[in-house]
């Protein structure tokens, strides 16, 4: 497992994103949805991207899939997959890679599956488009096997049913079967459990981990819920206002986070392994405007620890401060961050 250090230049990672910028022109101005994102991901690794709505997580995943092509969005920087810059590929070259090398699992499986076609039809289609010569019977057998692997009971019968005849959890399993049917090397799961019952969420995550081992795929799991990625991700990237603000191993981010925004995410999450607080502590304010982001540190408008006079939070844009392979984009000096976390965040005064 590689440490999470954003580096310039090339790398031999499976996926290597460098200074990714995605902007959308709107009537009100240019929306900078992703504003300079850099990260690496190796085969077999799981990266969790965490952030609230509008932090740029989904836009990042769509940029990797090339789903912004043909829209008004402008994508800059580089996304190297297996040594090829995806942003420079011809449409047709990228199309062939979609679904075959990079697959995606969407948030709401009910709307992400076509209501007029059977589940089998849609999965078979996903396989056949990349395996044109395979015989009908062989493809069907493969898809039935795939449905069985994702834990759908009675797949011989279920393959001919429509999405509306599946329960929410079963639908997401079918969606996963569709994404993994070509054994892709990278799977992007965009909020894969958000639309599901809590009891089903863990099952789906376990399933993803198991299947990942089988095909040694890299996974990017996008979520606003730190709890979802805490267990399954090797490394976590916290995004705020289109930028990564903290990165590290799951343990670092979850048990010794150093960015005030990550603290906020943790404190706004109900935890049963902790002493009961009187109430959850939400992060005050709203996500920043992506058209005219706050000056200086984008989070300074909502930060409880800002210090304009001594640190210049409202004027200086923080760069990554890397200590022990744990990059944090914060102007507060590392010792002080650690001190604040130990005294105020880890053991909250009640």
């Amino acid at each position: 497992m590689s440490t999470w250090v954003p580096t310039e230049g090339t790398s031999d990672a499976l996926l290597s994103v460098r200074d990714l910028k995605v902007t959308f022109p709107t009537e009100d101005g240019l929306v900078k949805a992703v504003n300079g994102l850099t990260f690496d991901l190796n085969a077999g690794e799981t990266l969790g991207i965490v952030g609230e709505s509008g932090s740029g997580k989904s836009v990042t995943s769509q940029a990797i899939m090339g789903l912004h092509r043909g829209t008004r969005a402008k994508v800059e920087g580089s996304i190297d997959f297996d040594g090829k810059n995806l942003l420079k590929l011809e449409d047709e070259e990228l199309r062939v890679m979609r679904g075959r090398d990079i697959a995606m699992i969407f948030q709401d499986p009910l709307s992400a599956l076509h209501p007029y076609y059977t589940v089998g039809n849609q999965i078979i289609e996903a396989y056949k488009v990349h395996h044109g010569s395979a015989s009908k019977a062989a493809v069907r057998a493969h898809v039935i096997d795939m449905l069985e692997r994702v834990g759908i009971p009675n797949p011989q019968k279920r393959i001919d049913q429509y999405p509306h005849e599946f329960s929410g959890g079963m639908r997401q399993r079918a969606m996963i079967a569709m994404a993994l049917v070509n054994s892709p090397r990278l799977v992007i799961a965009d909020e894969p459990t958000t639309a599901l019952d809590v009891t089903v969420q863990a099952q789906i995550l376990d399933l993803l981990i198991d299947l990942q081992k089988d095909i040694n795929a890299a996974i990017i799991i996008i979520t606003h819920d730190l709890g979802v990625v805490a267990e399954m991700a090797d490394k976590i990237m916290v995004m705020y206002g289109g930028k990564a603000v903290e990165g590290g191993t799951a343990d670092q981010t979850f048990y010794s986070p150093e960015h005030p925004y990550t603290w906020g995410l943790l404190q706004s999450m109900p935890r049963i392994d902790r002493e009961r607080l009187d109430r959850l502590r939400p992060i005050p304010g709203n996500p920043p405007s992506l058209i005219s982001p706050p000056s200086g540190c984008a989070f300074h408008t909502r930060c409880a620890y800002r210090d304009d006079e001594n640190l210049g939070c409202s004027t200086i844009v923080p760069e990554f401060d890397v200590q022990d392979w744990h990059p944090v984009r914060c102007l507060i000096p590392a010792p002080k961050r650690k001190a604040i976390f130990d005294t105020e965040i880890r053991t909250p005064s009640s």
Binding site: R95, S111, L113, Y117, A126, H130
Partner: protein, 338 residues
Amino acid sequence: MFAYIVRRVAAGMVMILAMSLVTMLLFFASPADPARYTCGKNCTPQLLEQNRKALGYDQPVLSYWVDFTKGIFVGSEFPKDPALKKSAPETIADCPAPCLGYSPQSSRPVRDIIVEKLPVSASLAIAAFIMWMIAGVGLGIVAALRKGSIVDRAIVGSALVFYAFPTFFIGLGLYVFLALKWGIVPVPAYTSIADGGVGLWLQGLFLPALTLALVYIAGYIRLTRAFVLEVKGEDYLRTAQAKGLTSGRILFKHTLRGALTPIATVAGLDLGGLLGGTIITEQVFNYDGLGRTAVMAATTYDLPVTVGIVLVAATFVITANIVVDVLYAVIDPRVKYS
């Protein structure tokens, strides 16, 4: 499903009978005397009374309706009055089931009139339907795919021009310029297939069908465009793209299947509505179809013909409704009737 269809058909028949009663009620409530219109120039009070009895206009509306409904199932005979039948047996006209009444003005059973006029109106409706479906849906798809471009604006804009002008204006305009002045198409005149073969039949249909189609095209372009754009925003299209499907397959298998289902509904209802006759287009092109006949019957107080055409038109609309609903269950697997 079968039980559902049976139920819908039964309900449709009740509705048709109710509509016939309403038409008669309106007719009987009119201040004009319908019998007077059957009497001609040399009318005498005796003749007037005789005609009234012969047509059954002397009965209360409800018994007239019961008599009419009975005629549909078991047939009927005219004149209605038993005394008159005895005194003038030579005037008896037989009207076998399904009898829709007897027109005093044209001295024929209504059913014969309808059988004669229906092919004209139906030919026109079907020809127009094919034209506007191909052009309207096709252009709508193109406009949606090129949304915001010049092509899109040109298509939507020019369609709106035809939508804004009244039918008689478009019809007369096409007639004068295409047929009379420039001679691009032959002067339209309806020729049945039996009389002139398919070629002449199509030739005669072209202009009136085009007129009717142009009026409907605008609506279909906008509808298709809106539905295609709506489906393009659906998550399942993003899924199709993420699977690596070609853009052609995404359009034809995934986009159109979702977008055209609601269009099938509207199209079925529109066709059903037109099969019962088009008034203005038939009038402009001097087509002797159900629409023109209905107008004529209404202005000459020809109750049997009016009721007959109302019933035929209503039957088409109701049938179209049932067909569309059943079709929906076939197209959309989520729809189930029980």
